[in-house]
């Protein structure tokens, strides 16, 4: 049963990616589609930030991960390199949990 789920997810996820690359080129000229595809990652990445930092099952919670994200936000505003942003978040969350 687990194998069926693993294989369906694996095949399905690849098919979804390949579909995007297989859409005929003429479909891409639509200006609105171009704009949607350019802006969509912004909306989805912002949502992923919220889900990762505040989501806890089906409720919102402020916890060590939120503290880590806040610290990461400061690092981003100070234009810290990517790996520093990530390490600051992990260290902050670990510190909050240790307190």
């Amino acid at each position: 049963m687990t194998w069926i789920a693993v294989l369906a997810t694996s095949g399905g996820c690849y098919a979804l990616k390949a579909l995007g690359w297989s859409v005929p080129a003429r479909w891409l000229r639509a200006e609105r589609l171009q704009r949607a595809a350019a802006l969509l990652p912004l909306a989805l990445l912002a949502a992923l930030v919220v889900v990762q930092a505040l989501g806890s099952g089906r409720s919102l919670s402020i916890d060590a991960r939120s503290a880590g994200l806040a610290a990461a936000g400061v690092a981003v505003l100070r234009r810290a390199p990517f790996v520093v942003v990530v390490l600051v978040a992990a260290a902050t969350a670990a510190l909050v949990r240790a307190l």
């Binding site: 789920a5 399905g12 990616k17 690359w21 859409v23 802006l39 909306a43 949502a47 992923l48 880590g68």
Partner: protein, 220 residues
């Protein structure tokens, strides 16, 4: 003559390695979470090798681990993975690949490679996409294996690794916000996701957040 190494190119390569390392931390927790949820090490590795899209993989093991059905797990996972279709549309217009290369590029079309490929200046776009792909694919699969083997040995929560994931998405998002429209779309997506978390099953809030692009797209 091979192109001379430029400061932009080396910065892109450095960022690609950094993203791979950050994803590696996430991969450790995926491998551990998968085995904790009852998957075998091989099943965890097949997901990382073939599905290769973190949020979908987490969604599947999250549902299975919580006792959800295989169908619910797969559905949530595919809903989350559908954003990669739109990334593919975007990347295919930017990178303009042909033949079998398209299907290789499709396999590595995920949040991180799209963020790097779309954010890079045009002259290093291809380098940014492929270097990130190699780095993330390598670190993600290696760390999945290590995480699955070491499940239980490492306390990912005590190390704060779960917080690293949200921070990584934030660090990918920030440089892509170039103007007010981008900022509005990002804030709209964040608010829609926060509103949807209590109301919808895992996986849907991220998709619902996609609606935040509508005002900017429909405006004339």
């Amino acid at each position: 003559m091979p192109p001379a190494p430029s400061p932009t190119r080396s910065r892109v390569l450095r960022d690609a390695v950094a993203i791979g390392l950050a994803v590696g931390a996430y991969g450790l927790s995926f491998g551990a979470a998968a085995v904790t949820a009852g998957l075998s090490t091989l099943q965890a590795c097949v997901l990382s090798l073939v599905a290769f899209t973190g949020a979908s993989q987490f969604a599947l093991v999250g549902v299975l681990g919580a006792g959800g059905s295989a169908a619910a797990g797969v559905a949530g996972s595919l809903l989350l993975g559908s954003r990669n279709t739109l990334y593919g549309v975007r990347l295919s217009s930017l990178l303009g690949l042909h033949g079998p290369k398209r299907y290789l590029a499709a396999q590595v079309t995920i949040d991180e490679t799209t963020a790097m490929g779309t954010a890079a200046p045009p002259e290093v776009r291809g380098v940014a996409f492929w270097a990130t792909a190699v780095s993330v694919y390598g670190f993600w699969n290696l760390s999945t294996l290590l995480g699955a083997l070491g499940a239980g040995a490492v306390d990912t929560s005590a190390l704060g690794l779960d917080a690293a994931v949200g921070a990584a998405f934030l660090a990918l998002l920030a440089p892509q916000i170039h103007n007010r429209v981008g900022l509005r779309v990002a804030l709209g997506g964040a608010l829609l996701a926060a509103a949807a978390i209590p109301l919808t099953p895992a996986g849907l809030p991220v998709l619902i957040a996609g609606l935040a692009v509508l005002p900017a797209v429909l405006r004339r």
